[in-house]
């Protein structure tokens, strides 16, 4: 399973998002963008230049932004709503619930700069609650791609799949992990590395840290499986249950609170179907101190070395 050798070059996944969206929009005139004065931060300059009438900027008004998107979908458009994740999800959560998820509107929510990408701007600009807020909503797939290849694949999947979704993107560079031409399948985990002693599960900006942690564990004689679990809902129960039964221990890591996120979602499956020792790494239920995303992830025990240590600790609990 280790045939694909990832490049260490770091990619800002917004570039893959924007390039894919522009390509899709050239093929399908019903694709439109709705944003909240977020043209630059969502890298929509190219889209705006090519399709100016199809970029609907509602200004700094997130509640209206979501409602307008629902109405555009009712009128036969396919809106991609592009906004900083904390304001998209937090400010407009009831609109997401009623207008998008409950109404099953064909709207693609794209949260940019999620997690702690805005690191030193502080907790108002962190989006470490969005998995918890969105994954409780029926009808709304919640997806955090791990690299630029999966980002492009998920943006394409969304355009061709009726119904809403939430794509959680970052601005922090990540190496490519999946092979070129990877096809996104909602609700399906990707096995990045086979292993038998423990399974490391992550998505978004944490997946590549898990891969590095698995390499460190290998050097210590520990065989770690790595799963990329981009889709938090609907979750891949089969992959999680297999991981629990075949490796007997699970570590999750996420750029999100440990309350209600990826780790919680995995734990729900493990507790119900295949209980094994687990460790959930993430932001430990606090408002983060000042620092860059890189600094904060390391501070919260998600440097690859620290993840490897956590994996060894959970293995000892078997």
């Amino acid at each position: 399973m280790n045939a694909h050798v990832p490049s260490q070059k770091l990619h800002d996944c917004r570039d893959a998002f924007a390039a894919t969206l522009e390509r899709l929009a050239a093929e399908d005139e019903t694709i439109v963008v709705v944003c909240n004065d977020s043209v630059g931060s969502s890298k929509l300059g190219g889209f705006k230049a090519k399709f100016p009438e199809r970029l609907i900027n509602v200004g700094i008004a997130e509640q209206n932004m979501i409602g307008v998107a629902a109405g555009l979908a009712n009128g036969g458009r396919i809106p991609y709503v592009c906004a900083a994740a904390p304001f998209l999800t937090g400010r407009a959560l009831e609109q997401i619930k009623a207008d998008i998820a409950y109404s099953n509107a064909n709207v693609k929510l794209v949260g940019i700069s999620s997690g702690m990408a805005y690191g030193d701007l502080g907790p108002t600009h962190h989006s470490i609650e969005d998995f918890a807020w969105t994954r409780v909503l029926p009808n709304l797939p919640v997806i955090a791609p791990c690299d630029h290849i999966e980002t492009a694949a998920a943006v394409e999947w969304a355009a061709h799949t009726a119904g809403p979704c939430f794509l959680r993107l970052s601005r922090v560079g990540v190496p490519d992990l999946l092979p070129e031409g990877h096809v996104f399948t909602v609700g399906k985990a990707n096995l990045l590395r086979e292993g038998s002693d423990v399974t490391l599960i992550a998505n978004g900006t944490l997946t590549h840290r898990m891969v590095k942690a698995a390499e460190i564990l290998a050097s210590r004689g520990v065989s770690a499986r790595v799963l990329n679990l981009a889709t938090v809902r609907p979750i891949d129960e089969d992959a999680i249950v297999a991981a629990a039964r075949e490796t007997g221990a699970i570590v999750t890591a996420e750029e999100h609170s440990t309350f209600g996120g990826l780790g919680s979602a995995v734990a729900e499956v493990v507790v119900d179907l295949a209980p094994v020792p687990m460790k959930r790494l993430g932001v430990p239920g606090i408002f983060a101190p000042t620092g860059s995303a890189e600094f904060l992830l390391n501070e919260f025990g998600m440097a690859p070395e620290a993840i490897a240590d956590a994996a060894e600790a959970v293995i000892r609990r078997k």
């Binding site: 509640q63 109405g71 009712n74 809106p79 009623a98 409950y102």
Partner: protein
């Protein structure tokens, strides 16, 4: 349908709505009575719709943002042929499609799910904008309550409707002057409503929202800007003891009150 017939239909809808709320033991009868003339004018005169093709792409769009008056919408949809009239008796019963707030994935003719206030107008702005993008000829209508205009999201949408030049959008505010707990003036006053909306760049018309001729004329008006109709209505309109009292926001009549109300509405028929 002509004005006389519309008035007769509105009374029939009021009567059926009253019966449904009485039998279900719940509903929002005050706001239903205030908005029924508007719903009747829309569904039996103004809207270009095909009840047998509820998703027809050229249909006019209508959003009932004050979703708590769903029962009035269900009765109107039933009278217009979107759902069977028999089904009204299932209102609020377990597994009925006819929830306390309308569901677009269950009830034909409902365009978007409403219930939480301040949602319908932003969605209607998106519908109207979609028509501008696609060149579709449909018109979008949205009815909000007046208390609902306290929601900031509505003013975000009013701003956007003017900015986008949506001359294919009509907002009707059912101005019955009461919200759930008290009069609007005693809660968080909206006055002066007309100049506020005009200042946002809309054309505004004020009418008696319980006078069918005025309602039809206002809804059929077309201009060069988004159009707001401030419809002065009576909460509980048509039933003497309910009119203009805050008590009847979601109170249910007892048997004695029900009989009086049925008699009053039937006499008017």
């Amino acid at each position: 349908m002509e004005i006389d017939d519309l008035e007769r239909m509105a009374r029939q809808i009021r009567l059926r709505d009253l019966q449904a709320v009485f039998e279900a033991g719940a509903g929002h009868i005050g706001g239903e009575m205030s908005v029924i003339d508007v719903l009747t004018a829309l569904y039996f005169r103004v809207l270009k719709i095909w009840p047998d093709q509820p998703k027809h792409p050229e249909r006019d769009r209508f959003v009932l943002s004050k979703g708590h008056t769903a029962c009035a919408l269900y009765v109107t949809l039933a009278k217009r042929g979107f759902i069977p009239e028999d089904e009204i008796s299932t209102f609020l019963k377990p597994y009925s499609r006819l929830n306390g707030h309308p569901n677009c994935n269950k009830v034909p003719g409902v365009e978007t799910n409403t219930g939480p206030l301040g949602h319908g107008l932003p969605v209607a702005v998106g519908m109207a904008k979609a028509a501008k993008l696609s060149g579709a000829a449909y018109h979008t209508y949205v009815v909000t309550g007046d208390g609902e205009m306290q929601e900031g999201s509505n003013w975000e949408a009013i701003m956007a409707g003017a900015h986008f030049g949506l001359d294919n959008l009509t907002l009707l505010i059912d101005h019955n002057r009461f919200q759930q707990g008290a009069s609007i003036a005693d809660t968080n006053g909206l006055a002066p409503l007309r100049p506020k909306v005009e200042a946002f760049g809309w054309e505004v018309t004020e009418i008696n929202g319980n006078a069918m001729g005025e309602v039809v004329a206002a809804l059929e008006h077309r201009g060069s800007r988004p159009h707001c109709i401030v419809a002065h209505t009576n909460k509980g309109h048509g039933i003497s003891f309910m009119q203009d009292t805050v008590d009847w926001h979601h109170k249910v009549p007892n048997k004695e009150q029900y009989d009086i109300a049925v008699k009053e509405l039937s006499e008017a028929l």
